[in-house]
Subunit: 148 residues, 2 copies
DNA sequence: CTTCATGTAACTTGATATGTTACAATATCG
DNA sequence: CGATATTGTAACATATCAAGTTACATGAAG
């Protein structure tokens, strides 16, 4: 089963936007997200509705981050993308008649919801600001290398 | 993204097998797994290779559980099915050049692996025996109702 | 030796995420 | 004002991949 890399791709785009003080066009973003401009607009639409980014038409238009970087967590972005399922695994029948299958579902669902809750907690703990800081911390030493 | 219900379906089948003292045919199992016999054989093949079930051809043939119910955990079954990914979410590029994307990947992968580890721990903690016991505990009171 | 079963390869189908085209709407620039 | 740059979005096309299906070989039991 193929994994959904949209969250990852969008975060990549957002961090690049955070490093610019101008708007970035869908075409620019499509390059760093390795897709095409229409898909970028489709994906960013959710973030716009949630108020995390703004978009402007026309000359000099494009996408900008609209809130403080430390006010957005990965969970916020995940939700804004449309809360796709976290787990590939699921139960075969949601509300089975069969008592045997009900026992299976009880066991599986317990494990599923714990794992999902943990993941979303971790997402909620990380802000875009932290990602930017992490990136900068690693990028700077590399620049020193070049200078020296 | 559609969820993979094979683990759930196979557990259902195994518990029914556990309640019988005869072999069950792929056709019988296909009914309780809500699919067709060939898919059952395909799915059970992994369990057979792992030694959890045996299959017999010919008259009176079919599938039987081959080990003690308290010697198999959900994790064992999950593994025997071919360890499909646990999470729907993944990173967009596995080993990116871009430092920004590397920072994104570090954050995501940490959260992913914690959640996955937790789920597999929980799976490892539950044996087929426990599921059977849970089922029986709930099934018996229902019979008393009928009698009284 | 017929029937009932599994084993498995090959092919078909269906669901769906992604990509693409097309064009309307709108903002900026000169 | 007209040319150009940009988003917004619907509609369509493509690719992928799991599941379903067909077909037939193999083997066991009556």
């Amino acid at each position: 089963m193929k994994r959904d890399g949209r969250l990852s791709a969008v975060l990549h785009a957002l961090l690049h936007m955070a490093e610019q003080d101008r708007a970035m066009t869908s075409t620019e973003l499509s390059m760093c997200m390795d897709t095409n401009p229409v898909v970028v607009r489709r994906t960013m639409a959710g973030l716009r509705e949630a108020g995390f980014v703004t978009s402007d038409k026309g000359h000099g238009g494009g996408w900008r981050i609209a809130v403080d970087l430390d006010a957005i967590s990965l969970k916020d972005i995940y939700d804004a993308l449309g809360a796709s399922p976290v787990l590939s695994l699921g139960v075969h029948v949601e509300h089975p008649q069969c008592l045997v299958e009900q026992a299976v579902n009880r066991a599986l669902k317990g494990a599923f919801s714990e794992a999902e809750a943990l993941l979303l907690e971790r997402f909620a703990d990380v802000t875009l600001k932290q990602l930017v800081d992490d990136y900068r911390k690693r990028a700077k030493p590399a620049r020193h290398e070049k200078r020296s």
